[in-house]
Structure formats: C-alpha cells, structure tokens
Symmetry: none
Subunit: 259 residues, 2 copies
C-alpha cells in the first residue's frame, strides 16, 4: 500500500516541471501554485526561496492548491533543480545577448507537449520577481520563452507569468502539431550529464591555462557553455565528448603528475 | 492644449473595455489593471467597488499601470457600465442555466477583434472574487466566455481571469513569429569555418591517439561532427572552440616536436 497516498493525491499527470528561481514573496509562490493547478500542472520546484520553505503565505495564496504546495521541493541552485530534466526552457521578458531560439508561450507549449508525450522530463524556469533569471540560469536552458506583450509595459507578475505558460500548456492538450527535433532513437541527455561534461571541460581548460589568458573569464565560460547546451546532446554524445576532452588533455595530465 | 495630456499618456488604442463588477479587493483591481496594460488594454470600468474609488491598494498592486488606474471610471450598476457598448461578453467559471453561446477565451478574442475592427465598442464582464457574476449580470451579455481549465480546480483569481482574456486579445492581433532564432549580432558561421574547426579537432584527435583506440572511426567521427553542426555556431564561437582545442592540445604538441 505504500506510495498509494501520493497516487490518491495526484490524479493528474504532473506535466512539465515549474522551477521558480529565488522567488521572494510567498504570495507569489502561492499564486504560481494556484495557476499551475488551474491548468493541470502539479510539479513545483523552488531554488533558494528567500523566506524559506514551507511558507505560510504561500499556502494562503495558493487558495487550496495543496497538492502542488505540499509536493514542492527545494534546491540549492538551478543546476540541481534541473539535473534530471531533458529539456529546459527559460522565461524572459527581455532580449538577451545569448544565442538561443525564442519561443512564444504557445509555440513552446506545443513543443513541450510533444516532448512530454515522448517521455521526456520537461521544465520551465521562472526568475526572481525583481530581476528575472540571471544569464547563468538562462545559459542552462535550451531555449527561451518570451510572451509578445505590450512593449512599453511587458513585465508580468510572477504568478501571471506562470499562468500564461501553464494556460498555453493546458490548451495545447487539444492540439496535435508538435514541433519535433529528433535526436535519433535517444532522448536529450539529463541536464546533470551536460553539467558534468561542462565541468569536466572547465577543469581541463583551467588546468591548461586557457582561462588565465583571458580577463573576461565569466563571459568566455558562458559562451562556451552556451554552445554545448544549445547542441542538445544525447547521453551518448556527452560521453563521447568527455572522451574527447580526456584524450586531448591526457598528455598534459600525464606530464603534470610528476611535478 | 486641453486633453492633450491624456493623449500623450495613451498612445495605445484602448481595446475592449474591462468591466469589474463589485470587485472586493483593491489588490485585485490593481492586478487586473496591470494584466490589462501588459496586453495593451487601457479601458477599465468598475461597478460599485467595495472599498470605494480611488483605492491606494489598487494603485500599489497595479505596479505602474497608472494609465489604466487613473482613467478608470465607476458605475452604480452593470447596466450603466455597459450602456454605450455594442457587444458584451460575460466571463464565467461555471455552467449557467442561461441559453447563450459559450466561447473559449481564444474564440472570444478572435470575434472581439473583428467587431472592434469594424468600429464596435466591445466589453467583457468579470464578477466578484467570491461569487462571480450574478445571473442578472450575465443576462445582460450576448455571450459567455469560459476558460477550459482543470475541472477539479477551475477557479481563477480575478487578476488571472483578466490576464487570460487580455492575453488572448493581445495574441489575436499579434503577427510575431512563434519561434525566433537569433544569432546575436552575427549570422551562423560560414560552413567553411565549421569545417575548419572540425578538421582542426580531427587532426588533434588523430595526433592524440583518440581514434586509434576505436575501430569504428568513421562512425565516431560522424557523431562528433554531428554535435558541433547541430550547435549552429556563430563565426566567433567557432574561433572560441578552436582556441579551446589548441589550448587543450598544446602540451602534447610542445612535447612531440622534439621527437
């Protein structure tokens, strides 16, 4: 009988995961949970909520969306929150100097629907109330979602942002025209595998002195990460590239050991 | 010069009129105003707001949507609020025993767009937070709008209801591309640059013995090329990766020279 309680509480498929990165106000977390459940989404993840968790104000504002609030999980950083996800979208109200496809909520929902149906774990990142997602957060996503709103007044409340995406997800349930990006037989790698690859590369680049020669290390690092994230690799491909990196760096490592 | 101030403040066409019937919380009126302006709507009417008008809590919650709040007008009843409108829709979360067409927000927005373009004055009624619109209110509208939400949890916050309708209105006039694929300032790299990069990588992998350890060299090579081709790099990014490769392989090359 163990585990049946959860099943009873969750008659819905969880749908895409909603990840709130450093949300500040409990009220907004509650409003997001309510909007999610309105549209049939139940998987909520929180990265470093400012006022801790659980948060009574979130419970109050969720207006009975307990199934979402009670199951919410907390993470120390965005990378951990998305480690098991295959495809991640980052919501953004503004243009970024980051080369990624930009979807309308509707187009994103259609694509998510297809990926979800194919068994992928999909997630959407939402940023802080005041400043949105950092470029570091955005870099970890494969694509951006930007709602075409009034250009003179485009900043949405956090709960409203979640509602727009969740609403389009709900609506896409009727449609059957997903935009597919085939990756052969296999799915995109778990984000954690990509992170391991990028850390591996970073370590080797550090050791080889690559970054020492650049005074713009963070920018350079972000650019490199962005390239590999965009490539939307399979698990096997991350393994292949790790082999590539190891081999390229092997001679240096063999040399530096005796030192 | 009289009247020009208003014109300066209102560069937008007002769009359909949003009518809040007996709203209770100032916060919700503010959230509705914000959602309206997000989606380019500016005409707000209030029927008997519980806490009077103006309402400082509405101003605070509107987050700068002054143009909507300042121009809001107050009415004694629904009939007066809609007296000059040609077509009126009533929003409702639930079924009514009233024989009227029921639109999804999307279908309503498309129809409103056509009527508005033809010069009609169009409006949408939203009910009290707790109980929604009365049957008497609904009777005064030509049609209903009901959002197809999670049947087990379909009650939207007032600000969220306004957002859904306003959002569909915005979309119905929007011609922006569903998916945009920016490449920053620069275009995708010339294929020749990618080829140079891949050859560079191949050479270094050959020299480092990477391929020697695999009997399926062509397949492995193709897989690696595929990853980098899919990343759709800019010219600058190909240069960055060539730097990465050179640096990773530098020690081997320095060593093998004396041989």
């Amino acid at each position: 009988m163990s585990g049946t309680d959860k099943t009873k509480q969750a008659p819905l498929e969880p749908g895409p995961v909603v990840v709130l990165v450093e949300p500040q106000l409990g009220e907004n977390i509650g409003a997001a949970a309510r909007a999610m459940l309105n549209c049939g989404l139940t998987a909520l993840r929180l990265v470093r909520p400012r006022d801790g968790w659980p948060n009574p104000k979130a419970v109050a504002a969720s207006a009975g969306a307990d199934i979402v609030i009670d199951a919410a999980t907390v993470y120390r950083n965005t990378a951990e929150a998305i480690a098991d996800l295959n495809t991640v979208y980052a919501t953004s109200a503004r243009r970024r100097d980051i080369v990624k496809p930009i979807y309308t909520p509707e187009a994103a929902a259609l694509e998510m629907r297809g990926k979800y149906a194919a068994g992928q774990k999909v997630g959407i990142l939402f940023g802080r109330e005041r400043s949105g997602l950092s470029n570091h957060d955005v870099t970890q996503a494969q694509a951006l979602i930007t709602a075409p709103l009034n250009p003179a007044y485009s900043s949405l409340n956090l709960g409203q942002s979640v509602l727009l995406i969740a609403w389009e997800w709900m609506k896409s349930g009727d449609a059957s025209a997903p935009i597919e990006r085939p990756t052969g037989d296999s799915m995109p790698a778990a984000r954690g595998s990509v992170e391991l690859l990028l850390n591996h590369l970073d370590d080797e680049l550090d050791a080889s002195g690559f970054y020492r020669s650049h005074n713009q290390r963070p920018m350079m690092q972000q650019n490199i990460r962005n390239i590999f994230t965009r490539a939307d690799m399979t698990e096997q491909e991350t393994q292949t590239l790790r082999g590539v990196i190891s081999k390229l760096a092997a001679m240096r490592r063999r040399l530096s050991k005796p030192d």
